[in-house]
């Protein structure tokens, strides 16, 4: 008995502490655990691009898509959007088209999309430029590379002069490990035109550094060690395998441009987003309040316990949203409110069973135990069907609206099973005297 009461107390304290965590992490400005709001609640722009990968060897498609993503991410970073999301999405398991590769770009806070679309839409350019010794200004490269302002990138670019050699003359680049030292190096294979140009450049400029620019940004500046007549260059240096791999990807992107086409745009003004969020929270609070009144008037003390369990359910869900983290959207919010109804369902099933046990003349304590046990099969079976729906929805739909809903709904069903069966039972048992 004491053990049950302690467990109940423990659950309540844990719930209160979690509630405090949610509150404090939301008001503290530097917390890493703030709610992540989707574009529809926060305002911003959502762009979907289709990448035309029909000219690319299917094996190289994932690599090309990653390179494309990196490039677009870099372009977006130039115009300083906070927390942009750029992700690759394939058509899904049941897509008819193997070449259907998409790129999703989310720009929170950006509602003037014209400029964004223009910048993103360019085909990536790769340029090989030469260090210009006559350049007057001397800039500290290391300090500059960390920043991403357009102007500084431009300044750096101006310190190198054009050679005419671009990604169009590069066949491909590969990651090669040096046979002697085992350190990663990057091999460049130029085509016949590039071979001649490259031979000329390297012959006349030994000792100078060559700036490799992707979309106007310096990604590497190797020093020319010797003349390279055969069009097969190797960039050595102190790379980590990761860095080297990224560089290869970037170089290949310039060599293998993936044309992209804009197929969907969504812009949500900040006022609409804020209003949707405000209304969603209002609906949540009002819904919860009415359910509370309903439960207490119908089941009295048990209804109060169910409401406490429901409050703990809400707290657990909110904490999970922060910890996983789940990006909240308006459809997710609707899934959340709907799952409250489902969470109460399990409690009602248990209460009705307890009532029946009491009618049979079983003692209160045993009635709670028996009632919970007997309600379990229908709670389990009913919720499994909901979980099946949630999983299928999440898995099959590539649409973020549906996924937002399915994720919240699925987690909600799982958590509600816990709060109904464990929390309600423990508190009810703690309140009942064993006789």
């Amino acid at each position: 008995m004491e053990k049950i009461r302690l467990t109940a107390l423990f659950l309540l304290v844990l719930g209160a502490l979690t509630g405090y965590f949610i509150y404090s992490s939301e008001i503290s400005p530097e917390s890493n655990f703030k709610f992540k709001l989707g574009l529809d609640l926060d305002g911003g722009t959502h762009l979907t691009y289709r990448a035309d990968t029909s000219d690319i060897d299917p094996i190289e498609v994932p690599e090309a898509m990653t390179a494309l993503r990196d490039t677009i991410e870099r372009r977006i970073n130039i115009f300083g959007v906070s927390e942009p999301i750029v992700q690759v999405e394939t058509g899904g398991i049941f897509s008819d088209d193997e070449n259907d590769n998409r790129l999703i770009v989310e720009l929170p806070g950006v509602t003037d999309v014209t400029e964004a679309i223009r910048q993103i839409g360019q085909t990536p350019t790769l340029e090989f430029r030469l260090e210009d010794e006559t350049s007057t200004s001397s800039v500290n490269f290391l300090a500059l590379q960390a920043t991403s302002s357009e102007e500084i990138a431009e300044q750096i670019r101006n310190q190198y002069e054009s050679t005419g050699l671009t990604g169009a003359q590069l066949d491909r680049s590969r990651l090669v490990f040096d046979q002697m030292t085992g350190s990663p190096t990057i091999a460049l294979d130029f085509n016949s035109e590039g071979r001649e140009m490259f031979a000329g450049i390297t012959k006349n400029n030994i000792g100078k550094s060559m700036g490799i620019f992707l979309d106007g940004i310096l990604i590497s500046d190797p020093v020319i060690q010797s003349e390279i007549p055969n069009g097969q260059a190797v960039i050595t240096g102190v790379f980590s395998p990761e860095e080297a791999r990224e560089l290869v990807r970037n170089l290949n992107l310039g060599a293998l441009p993936v044309p992209i086409e804009l197929i969907e745009t969504q812009t949500i003004g900040p006022s609409l987003g804020a209003e949707t969020l405000e209304k969603g929270i209002e609906a949540l609070l009002i819904g919860f309040a009415i359910i509370f009144v309903f439960l207490v008037s119908l089941y009295r003390l048990k209804g109060l316990v169910a409401s406490v369990a429901l409050a703990i359910y809400l707290i657990i869900m909110l904490a999970l949203f922060k910890l996983i983290p789940v990006t909240l959207t308006s459809s997710g919010l609707a899934g959340f409110i709907l799952s409250i109804g489902m969470a109460v369902d399990a409690n009602i099933l248990i209460f009705e069973r307890i009532k029946e046990e009491l009618k049979k003349g079983v003692g209160k304590y045993d009635a709670v135990k028996e009632g919970t046990a007997k309600a379990w099969t229908s709670i389990r079976d009913g919720n499994i069907t909901s979980i099946i729906s949630a999983v299928v929805l999440y898995w099959l739909s590539g649409t973020s609206v549906v996924q937002g809903f399915a994720l919240v709904f699925g987690i909600g069903v799982l958590v509600s099973m816990f709060t109904a069966v464990v929390v309600t039972k423990v508190i009810l048992l703690a309140l009942t005297n064993k006789k």
Binding site: D40, G269, G341, V402
Partner: protein, 313 residues
């Protein structure tokens, strides 16, 4: 039990609901939004004085964009402009044209390519099929122990009949709303239908679970209760729960409908009708249907024989 005794009346109500829904669906069709059909939606709001709707339409027409479009008022000073696909430049042209007299602000702008819409339809259908098949298998599996006097597959079959009923009602309602109020069906509507599907089956399973439980008890006590009586008793035990649960779910949904944002308003309405239909069908349709099926002598006997011969092996 009242419900079992008068089951024909309740079947009649269900059949009438389904018939009305089917009529609405086939007569008026469903009005698909840009999520499916492709196109653009532009929502704007006048910040100071609102321009008249006719003038807004004239302003857009004067651009000569050769697009089909419709203008609908929203909120106090806003308009929703639906059109065939607009480019970003065309959208900006529209905004400056309608903003000449009074300052106007862009609230949201969505464009969906036509291929994306087709894909959504095929994904929706696939999701529907996968959910239905997994749930039938699951129901047949969990009810495998109670093959007498009604085979466990019939529980699955009846759950399907019940959810076809539950899904048709909101779809019919939206055919009606589309025809008379211009309400369009979007991605969230598909989600709502799939949730109704899950909810409907959940509700039906709770009743069936009780029947399963009571059948077991009857078997253990070696009484010879009629199947009909067992179903009636089970219904009596669960209807309070079914109604109470539905009320709490409905409270949550009505809260979304009244106080929630614009984007989830129609979503919640689809769910509200689905939940009401689901609660009705689990009590007044699915369980009586089991009784009706058990009375269909030939098939019931056959099933029994098969079961017996399997047990004898």
């Amino acid at each position: 039990m009242f419900v079992i005794k008068h089951r024909k009346i309740f079947y009649g109500i269900s059949i009438a609901m389904v018939a009305i829904s089917l009529f609405a669906i086939f007569n008026w069709g469903i009005k698909f939004g840009i999520d499916f059909a492709g196109g653009s939606i532009l929502e704007v709001e006048y910040t100071e004085t609102k321009t008249q709707k006719e003038i807004v339409i004239d302003d857009i027409n004067s651009l000569g964009l050769e697009k089909e479009f419709s203008v609908r008022e929203t909120g106090e000073a806003g308009y929703i402009i639906r059109s065939t696909t607009l480019t970003d430049t065309e959208k900006n042209q529209i905004i400056s044209a309608i903003g000449e007299q009074n300052p106007v602000e862009e609230i949201r702008f969505n464009t969906v390519g036509p291929t994306l819409g087709k894909e959504l339809v095929s994904k929706g259908i696939t999701a529907f099929m996968v959910i239905v098949i997994s749930i039938i298998l699951f129901v047949a599996y969990t009810f495998r122990e109670v093959s007498k006097p009604v085979s466990s597959w019939k529980y699955g079959f009846v759950s399907i009949l019940a959810f076809v009923h539950d899904v048709l009602v909101p779809v019919g309602l939206f055919a009606f709303l589309g025809q008379f109020y211009g309400i369009e069906v979007d991605t969230l509507f598909i989600v709502a239908i799939l949730v109704v599907l899950g909810y409907s089956i959940n509700d039906t399973i709770v009743v069936f679970d009780r029947i399963r439980d009571n059948l077991k008890k009857v078997k253990e006590s070696e009484r010879k209760d009629k199947f009909e009586k067992v179903v009636g008793k089970s219904l009596k035990q669960v209807y309070a729960r079914s109604i109470n649960t539905s009320i709490t779910t409905l409270i949550a949904l009505v809260a979304i409908f009244i106080w929630g944002g614009e984007s989830t308003k129609w979503f919640s309405l689809a769910l509200i009708t689905g939940v009401i239909a689901g609660t009705y069908s689990s009590i007044f349709f699915a369980s009586p249907m089991l009784v009706t099926l058990s009375k269909m002598k030939p098939s019931a006997k056959k099933v029994e024989k098969v079961e017996e011969s399997e047990e004898n092996k």
